[in-house]
Symmetry: C2
Subunit: 341 residues, 2 copies
DNA sequence: GAGAATCTTGCACGCCTGTGCAGGACCGTC
DNA sequence: GACGGTCCTGCACAGGCGTGCAAGATTCTC
């Protein structure tokens, strides 16, 4: 007796069963579902009817076993519940789906051992590519992907290793522009609010702002606290606004920090924005546009980035070459937390 | 010699190659990576060394071809950039990873044809289960999953079809409680703000609130506008607050709506909350706790839900039975948009 | 030291698909 | 009617893996 172990009743249908029902060979079934294969209209019709009746779908696991492409793309992200990250994931998954790919999402926020296991897990599915969203996933994870021959795409990171392609936003230009905006608004005392998370983008924004201030003969202080979150921005405001010589021009490297900073400045210190203190953020998350904030900030072209990243999947990159990053410009969005000049 | 030979950029390393290098049969390699298989310590060691040197990992595609379990779980969500949804996905992916599963994320926000294609795509990977997050994915999608013998888990939905398991939050109880809170705060004229999206949860909250009002001999109006978003809440406020007999007790079926409503009430109408108008939300998104809002709302126990859902994956459900939903209670979070009694 | 018991190991098959190859059916032409 | 050409179709193999089975190796028992 050759009957498969279909006893559990609800197992999946295979091409073999469709072939038997349609009275053709399994090859005919396979060709019916393969683009450009040669099948006569008559058999094609019979196969399709049998497939429909049995509820057959080709098994992508087996198909991926043969082709070198599994159509799976691995997306690695930290803090994925954050407004900016979730918007990025939203855009990415939409574009991936439009390109007939499917996203495996790896959340690197958890315990690092579990993360490593999950990544390993995903890699073993022979993903076509791995997209690493900004954040602090250790460089060793990227190394792992590269060693497995993965096509790696880095977003808003700055790892000068050969292999991966990189997409970044013009952090430094924007940060310099942020200083100019504050300077022209008449600010005299500057501060940059950032977190203890040393992400490449965040560091770039911080240092570029400081350099701009220095080269304009101004001093600027740095407040570096906790994670890149609302609470850190709030705490930063509490620490820096008590001083008698408080800053009047503040650059928060993230909108989330800026929201926290603004709330404390207004609620706990009764400051009027932008009259007494000007604030510039970064990312242009949805909340920046809410009327409680009306935050002047820089927009990350999330949709364009996602589109470009997915486009990158088509051509295999040259290995062992340091790829120059593709840059997308972060444009200022003028709202109401900086005085117009 | 420690350099991975993957440099050729060719295909992945197979168990065959490891076997040759280790001087054993392919079976020995397979058994080395299979729990509970019988391998002598000596050969196991040689296999592991060869695997390490070659950078070998078992191919989960092939493994999933044999076992009936692929360890892939399909997560379907709408509006995944939303604070509540993204937090749900964050929790789910973390718990899935801890359970050695990996998440395939399907974004159903896009064009419906593309969505159908993406879901079909994911199904073909023989996912162990499909988790449907609240939203309006058509019931036909769920039908498709069920027909394919999928283990379907519905979160905050209310489809009375046999097969799927369901997890919900106590929407009706919470909505009644919301009415009580507003009533005890002395409100006289009630309104519920909702969207044109007829999600089961949203409808349940709305109707339960209206019933509670009616049975207490109060009238309550309904403002139903656009998508479930900040802008809709804002627009609702604009429409309802112009009237001379404006409501003073408002239940927004979502925190996002509540934030929009609050901002317009304060900014455009100069109303003082909670003195002139009380507002209750639902979800307890992060922004509800920000000092600009301090929104009184109901907390969805996201982490508990995720934990329970992942636990559900272990036992195969009885098919063709309508499963009674598992209920998680949404507890009130008192902040400052409702007067204390 | 012989036989029994246990542990290892390789062989071969199966999972589900795509595809080169060769043979067969069919058509048109002379 | 023969023949060359085109179009289908089935066979058989490949792809990477898990596993039952039986043979070989090792250990144990008396």
């Amino acid at each position: 007796m050759k009957t498969p172990v279909r006893a559990r009743g609800k197992s999946f249908v295979s091409a073999q069963q469709v072939a038997e029902r349609a009275g053709v060979s399994r090859s005919a079934v396979s060709r019916t579902f393969t683009d450009g294969a040669s099948v006569s209209p008559a058999t094609r019709k019979r196969v399709l009817e049998a497939a429909e009746a049995l509820g057959y779908h080709v098994n992508h696991l087996a198909r991926g076993l043969i082709h070198d492409s599994s159509n799976i793309v691995c997306v690695i992200g930290t803090d994925i519940a954050t407004p900016h990250q979730s918007r990025m994931i939203d855009a990415l998954t939409r574009h991936l789906q439009a390109a007939q790919k499917v996203a495996m999402l790896i959340n690197t926020s958890g315990e690092s051992a579990a993360v490593e296991a999950a990544l390993r897990q995903a890699l073993h599915y022979r993903a076509d590519a791995t997209i690493v969203l900004s954040g602090q996933p250790a460089a060793s994870l990227i190394e792992t992907c590269l060693n497995n021959g993965q096509h790696v795409i880095l977003v808003n990171r700055d790892d000068p290793v050969p292999g991966p392609e990189t997409v970044v936003v013009t952090n430094r230009t924007a940060a310099r522009q942020a200083f100019d905006m504050l300077r022209r608004a008449g600010c005299q005392k500057f501060a940059v609010v950032t977190s203890t998370v040393g992400t490449a983008s965040l560091v770039a924004r911080e240092t570029a702002f400081l350099e701009a201030a220095r080269s304009a003969q101004f001093d600027a202080s740095v407040i570096r606290l906790g994670p890149t979150a609302y609470a850190s921005g709030a705490e930063a405001a509490r620490q820096v606004l008590v001083s008698t010589s408080r800053p009047d021009g503040v650059f928060c490297v993230t909108d989330l920090l800026a929201c926290g900073f603004l709330d404390v400045a207004r609620t706990e210190f009764g400051l009027v924005v932008p009259d007494e203190v000007c604030v510039v953020g970064f990312d242009d998350i949805e909340q920046a546009g809410w009327s409680s904030y009306q935050l002047t900030t820089f927009r990350q072209p999330v949709d364009q980035i996602a589109d470009h990243v997915v486009g990158l999947l088509h051509h295999q990159p040259a290995v062992h070459t340091i790829q120059p990053p593709t840059r997308f410009s972060a444009e200022p969005v003028w709202r109401k937390t900086v005085r117009p000049r």
